[in-house]
């Protein structure tokens, strides 16, 4: 039994979600191989080889794999993956984009966003926005699985010494091309990896008022998120959205400010270790999951909190 993990990377370094995915692979048993597909990814492959628990790194370095176009990367993974017992990717926007295309090419069902490994063929995953947990067994010869990073503690990025092997196969479907990207630039920690997350909801009233949250976040070294209501209202960009259809976070501390607590939002943050809710509506559902609730006007409480920490 050998598990193939698709490395998530930006061309320069390995994304932290890969470390959680390798941890999940470790629970399935057998060797772990890591696939780094991209263009000019020698440095990424070297970093991949250091990850604890990885036995071999496969490097597919070709212009066709730049920007991780699924039309080209999925056939590569399907071709390499046939000899493996499992193919895993982190449930990031990239993993979600590529892996179902791999599963269909291999004619097997995929299991999405597992949060635990029961055995080598049985896994649990949330359904209905986390209001139910399904235990799913796969009889597929190759089990194709995306991994929710928050379900698994990451392995160490250092300490391994895997062999690095080049893959010559080139798949270029010619049906798609990369045009451009606009990536948000922030000095704050990435939401899904942050130890502390401060999120704002409709109660923030406008995008400008998020400055109170940024100030608090910078004091705490926190990432800043938002509810779907705040995104829909145009306060902040969608990549800040925490919830069923946004990012799933499980920080040590989650501070929900002016967020009522719709089930779709709770689905994205209820695995946080400690939840703090600040809301002036004492009936807000967010208080039902908060460890510490403060019924207060956020425009007074947040600056006061920023001063106090």
């Amino acid at each position: 039994m050998t598990v193939l993990v698709i490395a998530e990377h930006d061309g320069a370094g390995i994304a932290s979600a890969t470390l959680n995915t390798v941890a999940a692979a470790g629970k399935m048993g057998g060797d772990i191989h890591l696939l780094v597909a991209g263009q000019g990814v020698a440095a990424v492959a070297q970093a991949a080889a250091q990850i604890t628990g990885v036995a071999k790194v496969l490097v597919a370095d070709n212009a066709a794999y730049a920007h991780q176009l699924p039309e080209n990367v999925a056939p590569l993974v399907a071709e390499l993956g046939t000899g493996y017992s499992h193919i895993l990717a982190a449930a990031t926007s990239n993993g979600k984009n590529i892996l179902p295309r791999v599963a269909a090419a291999l004619d097997v069902d995929q299991i999405s966003e597992i949060i635990s490994v029961v055995s080598a063929d049985t896994f649990t995953r949330p359904i209905y926005a986390g209001n139910a947990i399904a235990t799913v067994q796969s009889t597929a010869p190759v089990k194709v699985i995306t991994v929710r990073a928050t379900g698994f503690d990451p392995v160490a990025a250092q300490g391994g010494s895997a062999a690095v092997e080049a893959v010559a196969a080139v798949h270029d479907a010619g049906t798609s091309s990369f045009v451009g990207e606009e990536l948000a630039k922030s000095d704050r920690p990435e939401l899904t990896a942050a130890k502390v997350v401060v999120s704002g909801g409709r109660g923030m009233q406008n995008g400008d008022n998020f400055k109170y949250l940024y100030a608090l976040a910078d004091k705490l070294g926190a990432g800043v998120g938002a509810s779907r209501a705040a995104v829909d209202a145009g306060f902040v960009p969608n990549d800040m959205q925490v919830g069923q259809t946004g990012k799933i976070v499980a920080p040590q501390l989650y501070i929900a400010v002016g967020i009522s607590g719709a089930i779709q939002h709770l689905a994205g943050m209820k695995d946080a270790k400690v939840i703090v809710a600040i809301n002036k509506d004492e009936e807000a559902p967010i208080f039902q999951v908060a460890d510490y609730g403060l019924v207060a006007d956020l425009f007074e409480a947040v600056p006061e909190l920023e001063q106090a920490v």
């Binding site: 984009n97 179902p100 139910a132």
Partner: protein, 249 residues
């Protein structure tokens, strides 16, 4: 250009579902059912493409039980021209649904297929990508902007770090994200008109598609409950608790 919009009948997004006592699934008896919210966005995008003169015909398709005809009628009222139901009472996996949709694509030969990025019941986020694999079409998943020009479509996608734009050759598959558009409501006259629009019913057998699955759901349980904590009276008390009790700051 013909556009195929795919929709799923799911539990309404406002319903808080309960797990059945025998752990066989969630209790859907007497629960309000609706069109999956992402599928509403898919139908809306197809209608807008027709209003812009890009699309000439919109075919809406659903794979599901007989009752999914309600959601197909809704899509017809929103502006789709005709509907196809591939009737199956079984709980199908995304791969089975993608295979059935592939058969419909072969039959209808659309230039663009628009689906929701995920259904809010199974939360799989697989079908569009799988359909793209089976058809060999390019895929623009999690779309926040769609622009058709000539024989290409430019799709701006919501990705973890921001937005990415790709160009796909037609025919292509698109899956919708929340910000692609804001779906309209069906007007009463259009609801009445929709009743007369054609709705074809097919079966997996008639399409020659096997819906066998490699996944088996062993049980469905309620998640571990998170109990409510305490209310603090002041910011000072909150900070004290976070420092000394929870030890997280």
């Amino acid at each position: 250009m013909k556009v195929l919009a795919c929709i799923k009948r799911v539990v309404d997004y406002n319903v808080k579902v309960r797990v059945k006592a025998d752990n066989s699934g969630v209790d859907l008896a007497n629960v309000k059912m609706s069109m999956n919210p992402f599928c509403e966005i898919a139908v809306e995008e197809a209608v807008r493409l027709k209003e812009e003169g890009v699309a000439t015909e919109i075919v809406v398709v659903s794979i599901g039980p007989t009752t999914a005809q309600e959601q197909l009628r809704t899509a017809l009222a929103l502006g789709a021209d005709r509907a196809i139901l591939v009737e199956s009472a079984e709980d199908l996996t995304s791969l089975a649904v993608a295979k059935l949709l592939k058969a419909v694509v072969d039959k209808e030969q659309p230039q663009l297929v628009i689906l929701g990025k995920q259904a809010i019941d199974s939360d799989n986020n697989q079908t569009g990508q799988m359909l793209a694999a089976l058809t060999g079409f390019g895929q623009g998943t999690f779309a926040s902007k769609v622009e058709v020009a000539g024989d290409k479509v430019a799709v701006t996608r919501e990705v973890d770090g921001g937005a990415q734009t790709v160009s796909l050759s037609l025919p292509a598959i698109i899956t919708t994200d929340l910000r692609l558009n804001e779906p309209r409501y069906a007007s009463l006259p259009n609801i009445m008109k929709a009743k007369k629009k054609p709705l074809e019913v097919l079966t997996p057998d008639a399409l020659g598609v096997s819906t066998a699955s490699t996944n088996k759901t062993l049980k469905v349980e309620a998640p571990a409950a998170r109990s409510a904590g305490i209310k603090v009276k002041s910011v000072a008390e909150l900070v004290e608790k976070l420092k000394n009790e929870a030890k997280v700051i």
